[in-house]
Symmetry: C2
């Protein structure tokens, strides 16, 4: 597994009795090289099966054309879709993507970040972990002058760009939708309040209640994680209340699913008695027999835009870092779990 007898520009230069500098220039279409030699070099390079060593080039030029992406887990529909978006936008520009998972642990996140910086990547995309409170490890990235773009889960640091969903609006829209479906006792299954995104969804929820003059009831707010069980537990808790909710707005699809399963187990009809709205538009929400209304976060788009922000940033060569904060509009995908109107129309089944 060693001694890869790689062809270098020196091999080509020796064969043609010219200097390596000329070979390099010829291959890079430097105008100072005559057409004849260029063609000769290119032809010979092909014949000798020459492959440029991007490592050496990177060392000399100071750029690797690699970018790093750090997410909590890559096998989550949302994150892998964002990565796909980034990849599709960046590949045409010659970039490659190196991925790392933080496993929602800030320590691992810091390690991964450090390792990526060592590797001399040209930029970093990241969605912070739930446990990320301190920002020291992230500030180190900035000290290195490495462009950083947050997506979805950001931390507010001056001069750092980000692409996020308008979670406040999303919370508002979801709640408003439920209100318009005739619900008034709307419970909210919130995510970890440590994360800005969940705070915003919660705030949007409260604002909608206020705008429609519905009293906010703190008992209707339950904190859940992204496990199905926590959604079931939430229903268990809520149904101990005097006044049971008539709608659930969950900040996550898995909790929404758990809630629905528990509701069904209790023979509570969805959406007739209780409407349910989830968040993330995970693939399964669509495929259920009773498809779940959910908030789409347009992950592909998010990835592409994050990539564009990065590209702009590296283009602005000498410029001061331009902070760019992109906020994407959420899109509520209304499905049966909260669609009473549809039910009345097509009362087939």
């Amino acid at each position: 597994m060693k001694s890869k007898d790689k062809v270098t520009i020196y091999d080509i230069s020796k064969k043609l009795n010219i200097s390596a500098a000329t070979v390099s220039r010829a291959l890079n279409n430097n105008p100072k090289i005559s057409e004849k030699t260029r063609e000769l070099v290119v032809k010979t390079a092909r014949e000798m099966n020459y492959k440029q060593n991007r490592l050496a080039q990177a060392l000399k030029q100071g750029r690797t054309n690699n970018v790093g992406v750090i997410v909590p887990y890559i096998n989550r529909s949302f994150f892998s879709s964002v990565i796909r978006g980034i990849e599709e936008e960046l590949t045409p520009h010659g970039y490659h993507i190196i991925i790392g998972q933080s496993h929602e642990e800030v320590e691992i996140e810091a390690e991964q970040l450090n390792a990526l910086l060592n590797t001399q990547i040209d930029g970093i995309f990241m969605s912070v972990s739930k446990t990320t409170q301190k920002t020291d490890h992230i500030k180190k990235v900035l000290e290195e002058q490495t462009p950083l773009v947050f997506f979805d889960r950001k931390i507010d640091i001056p001069s750092v760009s980000s692409v996020v969903l308008d979670d406040y609006k999303a919370g508002y829209i979801a709640t408003e939708h439920l209100i318009k479906e005739g619900c008034s006792r709307i419970a909210h299954l919130s995510g970890d309040i440590n994360l800005e995104i969940y705070r915003n969804r919660f705030e949007g929820y409260k604002k909608a209640l206020k705008d429609y003059e519905i009293d906010f009831n703190p008992e209707y707010v339950i904190q859940v994680n992204s496990k199905i069980e926590s959604g079931m537990q939430a229903i268990d808790d809520l149904w101990k209340l005097e006044e049971k909710p008539d709608a659930i707005f969950s900040a996550g699809d898995y909790a929404a699913l758990g809630a629905m399963q528990e509701l069904r187990a209790r023979k509570i009809k969805i959406p007739q008695e209780v409407c349910v709205v989830g968040f993330s538009n995970e693939p399964f929400t669509k495929y259920m027999e009773l498809p779940i209304t959910s908030m789409d976060q347009t992950p592909l788009m998010m990835g592409k835009i994050a990539a564009q922000v990065f590209l702009e940033q590296v283009k602005e060569t000498n410029a001061y870092t331009v902070e760019k904060k992109v906020v994407l509009p959420p899109e509520l995908i209304i499905r049966d779990s909260s669609n009473r109107k549809l039910l009345k129309l097509s009362d087939v089944s």
Copy 2:
């Protein structure tokens, strides 16, 4: 975004009035360096916030500690889980993963492969695209002496290791399960026969029929893709037959889902009238109200084992390439869509 005033070993050597060689050795725990100087260097390095430039190191040592992974799409539960497995196994060894998508196009696959080779990765993991027939671009990897490990979708090339599922057995088990549930007219929704995995599943299906003395009926075999619609279409076609099937074994979960939706639309009871078995154990199969029986491919495990095979391969320094073919056992996850027994027991709902 330029002039990253990076600290190098030369900066450290200047500050301490020693040579860069000594600094390098000290940082690498070379025994030829005295304890005093080692400590001094390490301490100073930390103070100066020195970060090793892995690019320069890689250039010198001829290894980058980067490996490439090429999959059709990364935002598919199966593939992203395999990648996660590879990542978890390789990160402790200091490796990083660079990913690329082929979009199921052999041309893109070849480009990605080429780009990765340029980047000087230390190895490649790949799952070939559906359109991959020629293997020229893959043989180039071998010429470069770069370790290659196929996972799931492989191509038979001598001396190349692979980690795959025992698809033949999987096909057999799934079919046998259906037979034992009392089904005898078992249809098979097959994937693209160009891929070995689908051929094997099909063969396993046929063998099970044979072993249980059920006549193979070619009319019961329909080729589908991984779209829900093709599963619906398949039912449409099958239900035009004189003798309708009483079971569906789909080589993919999405087609299975489509089939179930179409069956339900036709008021055909699952599993009473028709049993359904899918393949891949996509997350949604579990979350359905009528959960779908599916074949688990243990993707995390597959990724980890592929990584182990790679690690062994690079460890065997001078050895001839050792071809290693790992075949993982499939695991049938039996759920309601094919579980008539359960139905009789707990006839609650």
